[in-house]
C-alpha cells in the first residue's frame, strides 16, 4: 500500500467514522435555537389542521 492510499484511505475512513458517530447526535443548541433557522416543516401545519378539524 502506497502513501497515497494510506493518506486518502485514512481520510475516507476518518470521514465516515465522524459521520457515523457525530451524525447520531443532535446539533448544538446554538444551531437549533436561533430565530433565523431554516423552516422545512409543514408537519406542524398538518397537525394543527388535524386538531382544528
Amino acid at each position: 500500500m502506497g502513501l497515497n492510499e494510506l493518506i486518502f484511505g485514512g481520510l475516507a475512513v476518518l470521514g465516515i467514522a465522524v459521520f457515523v458517530y457525530v451524525g447520531q447526535f443532535r446539533a448544538s443548541r446554538s444551531q437549533r435555537e436561533r430565530s433565523d433557522r431554516l423552516r422545512w416543516n409543514t408537519v406542524d401545519k398538518a397537525q394543527s389542521a388535524k386538531k382544528k378539524s
Partner: protein, 259 residues
C-alpha cells in the same frame, strides 16, 4: 429580486428533494407511534446502507473494467446506471413514500455508473480515485462537525444562495451538453487552465455546501417527528449530494493532474 419574492418564486427551496411539504405525513402516518418516526440514527444507518450498496455495484463494474482492459465491456452497465439512476431519483423525489425501495435501487444503479467513471479516471490518472474518495468523505466529516457545532448556520439567505448557484451550474452543464450535439462546447468548463480549475473549485464548494442543507433537512425531520420513510429520503438526498461532490472532486483532480 428580493429574498421574499425569490423564495416565493422558487419555493422554500428550488431543490425538488427539499420541497416545503417534504415532511408532510401521508394518510397512513400515526402520530402517536414514536417507532414510526424519523430519527437521526435511522437516517445515518440508512445512509450507510446506501453507501455500501453503491460501493458493491461500483466494485463490480470496476473489476469488470480492469479485467476486460477497457470501457467496452462496461459501457452498457454504465448507461444502465446513469439512466436507471436518474429514473429512480425522479421516482424517489415525486413518490417519497417509496423511498425505502427506490433509494437503495438508486444507490445500486448509481454505483454502476460511478464504478465505470472511476475506472476510466483511474486508468488515465493512477491513484486519483482514492484521492477523490478521501476528499469526499473528509469533506463530509468536516462539514458535519461544522454543522453540528453551529460553526455553519444555514439561513434562508444561505439556502437561496446555494440553490441559485446549484441551479446556475445545472443550467450551464445543460447548455454545454446540448452544445455538444452541435460539435461545440463551453470551453472553460472542461479546460485545465486557471479559469477551468477555478470553475471546478467553485462547483466543488457549492456541492459541499449542499451537504449542509442535507444535514439541516435531516435534523429538522428528526426534530419534527417526520414519518419513518423520511429516513430513507434524507439518506437519498445526502447520497445524491455525495455522488455529485465525488464527481466534481474527481474532475478537479483530473484537471490538476493533466496540467
Amino acid at each position: 429580486m428580493a429574498n421574499r419574492t425569490a423564495l416565493q418564486t422558487f419555493g422554500r427551496s428550488g431543490n425538488p428533494m427539499f420541497r416545503s411539504n417534504a415532511f408532510q405525513p401521508d394518510a397512513t402516518f400515526d402520530e402517536s407511534d414514536s417507532t414510526r418516526r424519523m430519527t437521526l440514527a435511522g437516517a445515518v444507518n440508512k445512509t450507510g446502507i446506501l453507501l455500501v450498496l453503491c460501493l458493491v455495484s461500483a466494485g463490480y463494474v470496476w473489476n469488470q473494467f480492469f479485467q476486460s482492459g477497457g470501457s467496452g465491456a462496461v459501457n452498457g452497465l454504465m448507461m444502465l446506471g446513469l439512466l436507471g439512476g436518474l429514473a429512480m431519483a425522479m421516482v424517489t423525489i415525486f413518490k417519497r413514500q417509496w423511498s425505502g425501495v427506490t433509494a437503495p435501487a438508486y444507490a445500486l444503479l448509481q454505483g454502476l455508473a460511478m464504478g465505470g467513471i472511476s475506472a476510466m479516471f483511474e486508468m488515465q490518472y493512477p491513484g486519483i480515485v482514492i484521492q477523490a474518495v478521501g476528499l469526499t468523505f473528509g469533506t463530509l466529516g468536516v462539514l458535519l462537525l461544522a454543522y453540528k457545532t453551529g460553526l455553519i448556520k444555514p439561513t434562508e439567505n444561505f439556502r437561496l444562495m446555494i440553490v441559485a448557484a446549484t441551479g446556475g451550474i445545472a443550467l450551464l452543464y445543460l447548455v454545454s451538453f446540448v452544445m455538444g450535439f452541435f460539435g461545440s462546447s463551453i470551453g472553460f468548463i472542461h479546460s485545465n487552465g486557471l479559469f477551468g480549475i477555478g470553475f471546478s473549485l467553485f462547483v466543488v464548494a457549492i456541492a459541499a455546501l449542499n451537504l449542509v442543507l442535507d444535514f439541516d433537512f435531516i435534523e429538522a425531520g428528526a426534530e419534527q417527528g417526520a414519518p419513518k420513510y423520511m429516513e430513507w429520503y434524507g439518506a437519498f438526498s445526502l447520497m445524491v449530494t455525495l455522488v455529485w461532490l465525488y464527481l466534481e472532486i474527481l474532475r478537479l483532480l483530473a484537471k490538476l493532474r493533466s496540467r
